[in-house]
């Protein structure tokens, strides 16, 4: 998958949890998941589970802890698929 495709998929996974429509409107690689998108931090667990299913990858707790912005999630997937 291209970076753009992974980006779009990650955003679609995040979308149900986003509590800032403005943040979603302006989403880009640098957009922070908790700060800009106002995703409840507890829901990061669900985002990671969705990503594992959607991309067919396994994400460790340590890897998940490093994800702060949308780009972190996208790059995590791309590195796993490389």
């Amino acid at each position: 998958m291209s970076q753009e495709q992974v980006f779009d998929k990650v955003v679609s996974i995040l979308k149900p949890f986003v509590r800032s429509p403005e943040g979603l409107e302006a989403v880009k690689m640098e957009t922070t998941i908790l700060g800009d998108l106002k995703v409840n931090s507890a829901r990061l667990v669900d985002v990671v589970l969705e990503m594992e299913d959607a991309f067919g990858i396994a994400i460790s707790d340590e890897e998940a802890d490093q994800v702060a912005c949308v780009g972190d999630a996208v790059n995590l997937v791309l590195n796993k698929q490389a």
């Binding site: 979308k15 149900p16 949890f17 986003v18 509590r19 409840n40 829901r43 669900d46």
Partner: protein
């Protein structure tokens, strides 16, 4: 906030999500028209339930999207969704504005919203299967908030920014009425200006299965759903399970008058107790002394004479206990059958909504007072021999009662627990 004791307490908002109506005005209309919310449910037949009819609020799949975001719904089962819709409705009905998510909490407003069974559907459908399969890591983040007993009131607190006491009580079928009593006392003591009070119960077959297994649900009328809930009837053969939520906005009279709120009724008194599983009481049967004391305590606190009570909205489920309940009312009030208030059962129209029953039925009682009517108690055309002496006091059709001034509402639950509230038409 005033800390003086003995604040007068009034009802300024109602939220109702019932099997036969959504919203206070629709519910009042449905009660007046004796509209049944009991339907046949194929999934109960497929699961080989003896009772295949029940009361489930209709149209909730669409309705919930108008009240709750995708993020909120992600972690909500029906118990929580029903509570949220009814609580938001009660808030709005009370003339209050929803505050922004980043606003200061409303420190003067809290909630006691109970449930009888709670999130058992989440446990049965999501939690238990994954745990059994050794897949705890796949549970996600939303299990605890859906299975914790206080999930319904906790979600309501976040939706409305409540800053006073927020809790979920649980006392089986007394739950909703107990919540109203607890909230009433809190405001009366001056510890809160407003309290959302009532109960919610989901409509999962996992909630109803235990009762079906006990053979306490009516399994004889699956082909006639609207006739199946038969309190006070000789052919009563068990209750019909119901679900939904009923939430009242209770408020100090001082606060209500200060903001010019519409006042539905005043709460004059309330009591809860337990029969201690003594004197004929048990886990599943009431000690009549406990029932009578509870009623008398509520009437005593209200400072009224029993003869002032115009109507009783009974617990009256359609089990063997109905005649005992009616006799307990007569004993407690010291009134012979012919001088008893009107006595009727809202469960005849919506089924027994368990932890939501008291909330829904308190809302019904308040609406009857406010609009001046007593709805007909359906499906008791063949009165039970044990209540025949009260025949003239059991309305089989809706009665217009513009003079109705006081309504007593009681609930009785497994565990031998009792609750009673006295509502009065408000006069300044």
């Amino acid at each position: 906030m005033s800390r003086s004791s003995s604040q007068r307490v009034v009802v300024t908002g109602l939220g109702v999500l019932a099997p036969n109506a959504h919203g206070a005005a629709s519910f009042a209309g449905a009660l007046r028209e004796m509209k049944s919310g009991i339907r046949y449910h194929q999934h109960l037949a497929d699961l080989k339930f003896g009772c295949q009819v029940g009361g489930i609020p209709e149209g909730v799949d669409e309705l919930q999207k108008q009240y709750l975001s995708e993020d909120e719904l992600f972690a909500m089962n029906h118990n929580m969704i029903y509570a949220a819709i009814a609580a938001i409705d009660a808030w709005t009905d009370a003339g209050l504005e929803r505050q922004a998510p980043d606003s200061e909490p409303d420190w003067d407003t809290g909630a006691v919203i109970g449930t009888g069974i709670g999130g058992i559907d989440t446990i049965a459908e999501k939690l238990a299967p994954k745990v059994q399969e050794g897949r705890v890591s796949r549970l996600g983040s939303s299990m605890v908030e859906q299975v914790m007993s206080s999930g319904n009131s906790a979600r309501v607190a976040g939706l409305l920014g409540l800053g006073n006491q927020v809790t979920t009580n649980s006392s089986a079928c007394t739950t909703g009425t107990e919540a109203v009593v607890d909230a009433f006392l809190r405001i009366r003591e001056g510890r809160a200006k407003r309290m959302l009070a009532g109960g919610s119960e989901g409509s999962s077959h996992y909630i109803w299965a235990g009762f079906d297994g006990m053979k306490v649900l009516n399994r004889t009328m699956n082909d006639a759903p609207e006739k199946a809930s038969r309190p006070l009837s000789a052919s009563a053969a068990g209750f019909i399970p119901g679900s939904g939520a009923g939430v009242l906005m209770l408020e100090s009279l001082e606060s209500a008058l200060a903001r010019g709120a519409r006042i539905y009724a005043e709460v004059l008194g309330g009591a809860v107790n337990c029969g201690g599983h003594r004197g004929g009481g048990s886990m599943t049967a009431p000690n009549p002394v406990g029932v009578q004391r509870c009623i008398r305590d509520a009437v005593g606190m209200a400072g009224i004479e029993p003869s002032q009570i115009g109507a009783i909205n009974g617990h009256l489920t359609a089990t063997f206990a109905d005649p005992h309940e009616v006799n307990n009312w007569s004993q407690a009030l010291g009134l012979p059958p012919e001088r008893m208030p009107w006595i009727h059962s809202t469960k005849s129209l919506v089924g027994h909504a368990l932890g939501a029953a008291g909330g829904l039925e308190c809302a019904a009682a308040v609406l009857e007072l406010h609009h001046g009517f007593v709805h007909g108690s359906a499906n008791c055309e063949d009165l039970h021999p044990g209540v025949e002496a009260y025949a003239s006091r059991i309305p089989q059709q809706t009665i217009e009662a513009p003079e109705l001034d006081v309504v007593a509402k009681a609930s009785f639950g497994f565990g031998d627990v009792n609750g009673c509230v006295i509502f009065k038409r408000f006069r300044s």
